[in-house]
């Protein structure tokens, strides 16, 4: 694929239409997650049978997951900075690092889900289980999709099919990745930390 083939059409705004589309998508995805967060908050404390959040949440463990995803945003922005400088070695390092951090987060989420299910929290068990798994699973799916995109760009770069002129592709992937991070910033606060006083005190 040549640079010309990947270039977006010029718009009346003078902006690349792919970037406009990505920001419009991110704006619309805010609504998607807002509906899931709203559902979780509306059902919060309304479960008539356990297990309840304060019985299963592990705040230190989730804090490490939040930190991992936060650091992946740093490696992602460094990958973009690298390709914009034409530094393909660092681009590959940072893309791989971001993918690995994303996989660590997903592995952590899988482990957390496994522990929760062992403790009796299931999708059908109570309102907490239903709303919690729906919200966090959709976030996990977004992270999984992001890892696939980043690994695809990593392989394209290894094959020499990602030039400096195509840095917008990495920028768009980065926008998506950072969005996944900011969604977790919200989930970490409104799902986990708000419940924390019931656990620690």
């Amino acid at each position: 694929m040549t640079t010309h083939e990947t270039a977006g059409h010029t718009t009346t705004t003078g902006l690349d239409n792919r970037k406009v589309m990505m920001w419009a998508f991110i704006g619309s995805d805010c609504l998607f997650f807002a509906s899931l967060v709203s559902t979780y908050l509306l059902y919060r404390g309304k479960s008539v049978v356990g297990p309840y959040p304060y019985e299963v949440f592990n705040i230190p463990y989730t804090s490490v997951s939040a930190f991992v995803l936060l650091m992946s945003s740093l490696t992602m922005v460094l990958a973009l900075s690298a390709i914009q400088r034409g530094d393909h070695t660092r681009l590959r390092i940072w893309l791989l690092a971001t993918s690995i951090l994303g996989c660590i987060f997903l592995g952590g989420q899988y482990f957390e889900f496994t522990v929760f299910v062992e403790q009796g929290v299931t999708l059908q068990g109570n309102l907490f289980g239903s709303s919690f798994f729906t919200l966090t699973s959709f976030h996990g799916l977004h992270v999984t999709f992001g890892v696939v995109i980043l690994m695809s760009f990593f392989i394209m770069s290894l094959r020499g099919r990602l030039s400096q002129e195509q840095s917008l592709n990495i920028e768009l992937a980065g926008l998506y990745w950072h969005f996944v991070d900011i969604v977790w910033i919200v989930i970490f606060t409104v799902v986990y930390l708000i419940e924390a006083p019931n656990i620690v005190h």
Binding site: L15, G27, L31, A34, I59, H178, I185, T189, L193
Partner: protein, 98 residues
């Protein structure tokens, strides 16, 4: 300064690392405050302020919204405002805020 894109000023790699350190410290503070019983009455506003701060920093600096075309801010902001409105409307409708 790093290479510019779309004629906008992007922060340097060092600045990105400093931002990551700030975000890490804020996350550590968020976790720490939930363990301080004396702050339990103020926990919700403290957590909201800290997470909104992190949100703004990531969107502004890592997503470059601070340096990019205002149309992107409008596209993202309109979705975000609508999302917050929907959330608040549902909370009020079901009496969570009352």
């Amino acid at each position: 300064m790093a290479t510019e894109h779309h004629n906008t000023e992007h922060p340097s790699s060092l600045k990105y690392v400093v931002i990551a350190l700030i975000l890490s410290v804020v996350t550590a503070i968020e976790v720490a405050v939930v363990y301080i019983e004396a702050l339990s009455a103020l926990l919700l506003p403290i957590l909201l302020i800290l997470s909104v701060g992190k949100f703004i920093v990531v969107v502004g600096y890592y997503m470059h919204l601070k340096f990019d075309n205002k149309l992107f801010t409008i596209l993202f902001g309109s979705g975000l405002i609508l999302a917050i409105y929907v959330l608040c409307a549902l909370m009020l409708l079901f009496g969570v805020f009352i």
